[in-house]
């Protein structure tokens, strides 16, 4: 009993999740589409309408979160060169219930996304970020981190889908809003150019906000020093 006590104490000490700013990195600072560009094929090619953008966002979140969670139990003793096989296999198993559920909710949209739906299983969040970031954290923190990375991707996917639907058909979620018909933005080159410009504008905004915050903090520090 006495021996068990320190063990229990250790476990309890391990439990609390430290919620720091870095857990929100996936939203803006390390957004996988606009900042790092490590996942962009589904957004560039398939997110051409609001509905498609939403389906891609949901599929990405379900597949990535579940795969990363399950694979976090894979022993690190297995070399990474072989561990990736397990990640890929788990991802493709998770894909089955995900696509069946989405097919029930969005019956026609899933088919329209085509090969970009199963390609989500090879996303860089599962194959690169797991080793360099997620698996270095406690499991609870890791899941919050993955959640915000998925939200960051999902937001961009939905916004790009919405903008492209508006530009190419003058509607959002099938609701006609304007007489627009610039079909070029439905093509891959339109997707590349739009995402590229969005990424540049987002980075400029992010850098501006960060520099302003740093300046304000510096001013505050100086004031405190004078006082």
């Amino acid at each position: 009993m006495a021996q068990q006590m320190p063990k229990m104490k250790k476990l309890r000490e391990k439990k609390p999740i430290r919620f720091d700013r870095s857990l929100l990195d996936g939203l803006a600072k390390q957004n996988v589409v606009l900042m790092t560009g490590i996942v962009n094929a589904p957004v560039v090619i398939a997110a051409t309408t609001f509905k498609k953008g939403t389906v891609i966002a949901l599929a990405f979140a379900f597949i990535s979160m579940l795969t990363i969670f399950i694979c976090s139990f894979v022993p690190k003793k297995i070399v990474y060169t072989l561990r990736v096989i397990i990640y890929a296999l788990v991802g493709s198993v998770i894909y089955i219930p995900t696509v069946l559920a989405l097919e029930e909710i969005f019956p026609r949209t899933v088919g329209l996304i085509g090969i970009y739906m199963p390609l989500i299983i090879t996303n860089a969040l599962i194959f690169s970020k797991t080793e360099s970031r997620f698996y270095l954290r406690k499991r609870g923190e890791m899941m919050i981190d993955v959640f915000f990375f998925s939200v960051g991707f999902g937001a961009v996917s939905v916004i790009v889908g919405m903008l492209r639907e508006l530009i190419t058909m003058g509607s959002i979620a099938d609701v006609k809003l304007a007489e627009l018909n610039i079909s070029a933005f439905e093509a891959p080159f339109g997707g590349f150019i739009m995402v590229g410009i969005m990424a540049g504008a987002f980075r400029a905004l992010y850098n501006y906000a960060r520099n302003r915050r740093i300046k304000q903090n510096q001013l505050q520090k100086d004031k405190n020093g004078e006082a």
Binding site: N40, A41, L119, A124, F189, I197
Partner: protein, 197 residues
């Protein structure tokens, strides 16, 4: 002769009309990584070419058996992942056994040339078009060669697109995406332009 013509035609279509990067955005992030260094470009390109071609050969027979099955599209990613994993493990074991020096040098990035959207995408597209064995192989070779061509273009532009000539916010990935978009527009024209209408 007919076999050779079918192979070349499919390979050319996959290389220029269905280009992995410019027309399909398959493996764009890997292409960004590969375009930074000449060594990466050649190593990853050859890796993708090898895995895609061998996997296309195997999946052709699986597709022939399962094509009519109503549920095939749902389990297809799992089957293709198993095929790619077998090719990957088998090849790694052979390299580890017979070429240990090469194994050490490729160990860090070998998974990138196997588990990426370009390889899996080639298999999915082959299943969609469902041609003959020669067309499967031609498409695999063509798509991988198209990927290498795209990476080569990105490699040439890499230095300039990362230079101070480009505004800081657009430097790197954003301007690279716009550059791919412009090249994609040029490749798009290869699908045909009719002046009669």
């Amino acid at each position: 002769m007919d076999i050779l013509v079918a192979f070349i035609t499919t390979a050319m279509t996959a290389m220029f009309v269905e280009n992995a990067i410019f027309a399909r955005a398959l493996g764009t992030s890997v292409a960004f990584y590969a375009s930074r260094k000449t060594d990466n470009m050649i190593g990853l390109g050859l890796g993708i070419l090898y895995v895609t071609t061998v996997s296309c050969f195997i999946t052709y027979w699986i597709d022939c058996l399962m094509y009519e099955n109503e549920w095939y599209w749902i389990v297809m990613p799992l089957i293709y992942t198993v095929v790619i994993s077998i090719v990957y493990t088998g090849t790694l074991l052979l390299i580890w056994r017979f070429l240990p020096k090469l194994f050490k040098s490729i160990k860090k990035y070998v998974h990138l040339s196997v588990f990426n959207a370009a390889v899996l995408g080639a298999l999915f597209l082959n299943e969609v078009y469902h041609g003959s064995l020669i067309e499967y192989l031609g498409f695999g070779v063509g798509l991988s060669a198209g990927f290498m061509i795209a990476v080569f273009f990105l490699h040439i532009a890499n230095e300039r697109l990362n230079s101070e000539l480009v505004p800081a916010a657009f430097r790197g990935m954003p301007i690279m995406m716009v550059f791919i978009g412009i090249l994609s527009l040029a490749f798009y024209a290869l699908t045909g332009y009719n002046t009669s209408a």
